[in-house]
Symmetry: C2
Subunit: 232 residues, 2 copies
């Protein structure tokens, strides 16, 4: 039974989470950490938000038809996450892997609350998911995140810009306003949830070093893969 | 914003809910009440569980591929309900209709808890939905419900029989066991939720009379449609 209580049981793996705005550099660092851990001989499993295919069609369809309210939007993403959680996060944790997540439940907390859902309600919605062993929060000015986004020539999507909230007529203005709301939620969660806050405006090597230093205590005595033992 | 708090606001309509096991006669009575109310000149809106098409494909696909855990099963149905609620239940309530629901959130409470979800978690999941003005709970022995189901030559579905829970090898035995679990949940909810309990083994006319008597206090001073005024 995968209910809130029983999934909170102990597991031999470790859950390492990267959170932050788009353009904060967290995805790059999550990938670098995965490679570094694998190279050092640890069993690593990497997963990112929205990789489940159970409800992706429905989300796409609902977005296209503009059918989603904040509640259904939130519930659909929770379903998607729950599916991914029970297939791709919990099993490797139970099998003793280091699980690296690019976004976790805090992404939903920030986004759903920014869209107007009650924060207690959203928190309970995700009560089935275990608390991570480590959360890195990549703090970045919203303006920097937008500049990086624009530099990468990625298109800003309607929902990413929070255009459904009617914050501004222009996509870039709406993006700034919505990402600002997400940032405020992350900042609010930061203390109570024990995030390790990382100044994401540093150089890529400085960021990697900070992440590696942050992860070290977790690796203390954590077993390496038996077959592939690299020098540490 | 359709969050837990704001949807709890007042509305001019009335919400009337029918709950009970399959074969309890609740659907027949819900339809009879709808006709009776319409005949008497009230604006009535009828809706039943699982009429939304937003996630029905996903539910079908998930069931077919046996992909659903109790948590994802519960979340998918909550998404489906939220979509229906925000399109087909809340708007007519706000427009001053008598809304008759064949199954409401209590169906989810009973089913999800029987499948092993935490009852507090499920309750919060549906916190966006307003409390009904009236809930009729059709109490029936599980054996009677099964006999009616068999008499109607309806096929017992895999999930309706709770076969996914491994309660019994045989569909009829599993159905009895699972419906028994649902009944226990309904009985547990009955007092705290203020259900009007109806002995569903009575004749159809006796049941109708009991429902009409139960509904009368709600109709006191409730406005009728202006165009179609029938004699009362």
């Amino acid at each position: 039974m995968a209910d809130a209580e029983t999934t909170a049981r102990r597991y031999p793996g470790r859950l390492i989470v990267f959170e932050g705005l788009d353009g904060s550099g967290k995805s790059t660092q999550a990938q670098l950490l995965r490679k570094w851990l694998a190279f050092r001989g640890y069993r690593v499993f990497f997963t990112e938000w929205n990789s489940s295919d159970l409800v992706s069609d429905t989300i796409r369809r609902g977005k296209k038809r503009n059918l989603l309210t904040p509640t259904t939007f939130s519930l659909l993403h929770a379903t998607d996450f729950a599916d991914r959680y029970e297939r791709h996060i919990l099993p490797p944790l139970q099998a003793g892997y280091l699980v690296v997540c690019d976004r976790y439940i805090y992404t939903a907390f920030a986004r759903d609350v920014a869209r107007g859902c009650d924060s207690g309600w959203v928190r309970n919605l995700y009560a089935f998911a275990v608390r991570p062993d480590k959360v890195f929060y990549f703090r970045v000015p919203v303006q920097t995140a937008l500049a990086r986004k624009e530099a990468s020539r990625q298109k800003i999507s309607y929902y990413e810009a929070g255009m459904d909230l009617g914050l501004a007529g222009d996509a870039a203005d709406s993006y700034l306003a919505f990402q600002g709301m997400l940032k405020r939620e992350y900042e609010r969660l930061s203390g109570p949830e024990g995030f390790q806050v990382i100044d994401a405006e540093q150089q890529i090597e400085a960021l990697s070093n900070e992440v590696r230093r942050g992860i070290r205590p977790l690796l203390d005595g954590f077993p390496k893969e038996e077959v592939l033992v690299h020098g540490s």
